[in-house]
């Protein structure tokens, strides 16, 4: 899907590119449902599938659907660390490993140095010289604190210099105790596949030495704003699954994305969409020869032609990688006002660079993945910028969104409920124009609002 078609203010169809032949096609309907996933790949490196993207949501946004809480992105604490510049993807090690795995770094700097020089192995460091920092800081939840908390704690230790690999950006996830307690067979039953995956990628066996892990972008809580019926601000356009913003606030709990996607798809949307469609059955089928379809198709074709016309020297990935660096640096795990402003500026510059230097080989009329990627990158620039804007606006720390200016003495997130207990929904106002912020107040009538506490 490359564009959404709106007739009389209602979603009536899409323009899609046939990936095999390149043909630009029109499809009409009485309603459109977007289930197009999250935008974590804005960061280039993430645990998402290579073709995960935010383009469909961005097309809807440009056509009038509000985009909610874009700055809420989840950084997963247990991923295999980055190992070089040539990497295009990061691998997740499931959170389930934290049921039995214990996370630690050495207490002594000399052990850290020896580890980095490969003079000792983790297993040789005695128990009393290990800092099980999650168990130390959060005794009640221990290794099973939520993801944002675990990620920040890993960053804190690594920033303090205790990272255990050459790059200084890794901590241990250790199964020695679990193997002792449960035996090889039980551990194998629970995590055998993950151990195997880890060993294949790193050539180190978690049976002998602890895994090395580091946080990475994993999921996006923000997405298209939807009402209780999962309808966006465009009548007839629905958004479900990771593509909407609905249920996870500032941070999603593990194993709740599939729950939400299936709840939306099986049990909520099929009912709520009926309310809208009950007014529509008397209407004739959508006419794909309507001028609105022709216009949208023309715009898509022009966008594609514009990309081919650049004829520069850079690959799409090389520019996307730069966007990833900007995002991770300025809109990553810790954000501040100055950095976010810088980030917005840098994204703007990179966008210009793209339109001057990108090279997409081949033609539209064939299977052309470089073209697909280029079209997505154009949208990632806009998402990245929107994330930074939202992060700049939200002057509080909350869930996965950590503003350095807003933290407690212990380095925990500090919310500002008085000023920010709202959903930030952004309305597109045109290219190069700042989007408009709309606020949906959040009311808590059944739950006592408190500072999150995973200590006791």
């Amino acid at each position: 899907m490359l564009d959404l078609v709106i007739i009389n203010g209602q979603a009536k169809g899409i323009i899609a590119r046939n990936l095999v032949t390149g043909e630009i096609e029109r499809f009409g309907a009485h309603a459109v449902v977007l289930a197009t996933g999250g935008y974590g790949n804005t960061y280039f490196l993430s645990t998402n599938a290579m073709n995960s993207n935010g383009s469909a949501a961005m097309q809807a946004y440009r056509k009038g659907a509000f985009f909610a809480n874009p700055c809420f992105a989840q950084i997963h604490p247990t991923c295999i660390p980055v190992h070089g510049d040539q990497q295009c993807k990061l691998t997740l090690m499931s959170e389930s490993l934290r049921n039995d795995g214990r996370i630690w770094v050495p207490k002594k700097m000399e052990d850290v140095m020896k580890l980095r020089k490969h003079e000792i192995k983790a297993s040789q460091i005695p128990e009393e010289d290990r800092d099980y920092y999650l168990e130390r800081r959060y005794p009640a939840f221990g290794n099973l604190v939520p993801r944002d908390v675990a990620s920040r704690a890993a960053k804190e230790r690594c920033d303090a210099g205790y990272g255990v690999n050459e790059t200084g950006l890794a901590v241990f996830l250790d199964f020695a105790d679990a193997i002792k307690r449960l035996g090889h067979q039980r551990v194998e039953e629970r995590y055998g596949n993950l151990f195997q995956m880890y060993e294949k990628i790193t050539s180190s066996s978690p049976w002998e030495e602890p895994m090395m892990i580091y946080p990475a972008i994993h999921y996006t809580m923000g997405g298209l704003w939807v009402d209780y019926d999962l309808q966006t601000t465009i009548p007839g356009l629905y958004a479900i699954g990771e593509a909407n913003f609905s249920d996870h606030g500032g941070n999603r709990l593990g194993a709740s994305a599939l729950m939400q996607g299936l709840a939306d798809g099986y049990f909520i949307l099929p009912y709520t969409i009926g309310d809208y469609l009950s007014h529509k059955f008397a209407e004739p089928k959508t006419d794909i020869n309507a001028p609105e379809f022709a216009e949208a198709e023309k715009a898509v074709k022009e966008r594609i032609a514009k990309i081919f016309a650049v004829k520069g020297t850079e690959t799409v990935d090389s520019i996307h990688k730069k966007l990833g660096h900007i995002m991770w640096e300025y809109v990553g795990m810790a954000r501040n006002e100055e950095g976010l402003k810088k980030g917005i500026e840098e994204i703007g510059k990179l966008r210009e660079e793209f339109w001057k230097t990108v090279r997409v080989p081949g033609t539209n009329e064939e299977f052309n993945q470089e073209l697909e990627k280029a079209l997505r990158l154009v949208d990632f620039f806009d998402i990245g910028e929107l994330m930074a804007r939202d992060a700049l606006n939200r002057k509080e720390s909350c869930g996965g969104h950590f503003r350095e200016e807003m933290q407690t003495e212990e380095g925990e997130t500090k919310r500002d409920d008085e000023n920010f207990m709202y959903v930030a929904a952004w309305e597109y106002k045109g290219e190069g124009v700042a989007p408009e912020l709309h606020k949906e107040d959040l009311k808590y009538e059944n739950i006592k609002i408190a500072t999150r506490n995973y200590k006791d």
């Binding site: 899609a16 309907a29 389930s96 606030g249 996607g261 299936l262 969409i273 697909e372």
Partner: protein, 163 residues
């Protein structure tokens, strides 16, 4: 006051009754009229696939789109950990309320109460639906569905497939 452009349509009444209330109000389309209606679903992950299948079963004409060589290869297949549901199979005092509470708290008090409560409410049915479709969830020796824990909770409510 919320922005007038953002009408959340959250039903009033007690939290636990909101979804039932909304369902009772929602107009439905009779089977012979569903046949006249077309819905486009973009995406074939668990969200899009479950929606398209449900809408198709209901009798709507559904067109579904994806950008991978096979619809099955949506990002959703990468999931490793499992899926939550307030079944309380472990008898560890889990409940709809507890799942609701954990999710709001985990989200650092920035999600809608009504949506999250509904999510917790329908969670149990998802597992039944999946089991009926033959999802090979991990089971205990005795045949019961197995569970494990994920971050931010103190119960064991995650259903998973053994690797």
């Amino acid at each position: 006051m919320s922005d007038p452009k953002l009408i959340s349509k959250i039903p009033d009444g007690p939290l636990a009754e909101k979804w039932s209330k909304r369902k009772a109000e929602i107009r439905i389309v009779s089977p012979n009229n569903k046949r006249k209606l077309e819905v486009i679903v973009v995406g074939t992950g668990l969200g899009g696939a479950s929606a398209a299948a449900s809408l198709g079963e209901l009798g709507y004409n559904v067109k579904i789109f994806c950008i991978s060589d096979s619809p099955r290869r949506a990002h959703s297949i990468a999931a490793q950990g499992g899926i939550n549901a307030a079944k309380n199979y472990q008898n560890d005092n889990d409940s709809i309320y507890r799942l609701f509470y954990d999710t709001i708290k985990g989200g650092d008090y920035r999600s809608r109460e009504a949506n999250v409560y509904r999510l917790a409410e329908v969670s149990a049915a998802i597992i039944d639906q999946c089991v009926a479709q033959g999802v090979p969830f991990a089971r205990e020796y005795g045949g019961y569905l197995a569970n494990r824990s994920f971050g931010g909770v103190q119960v064991s409510r995650t259903f998973y497939a053994r690797g």
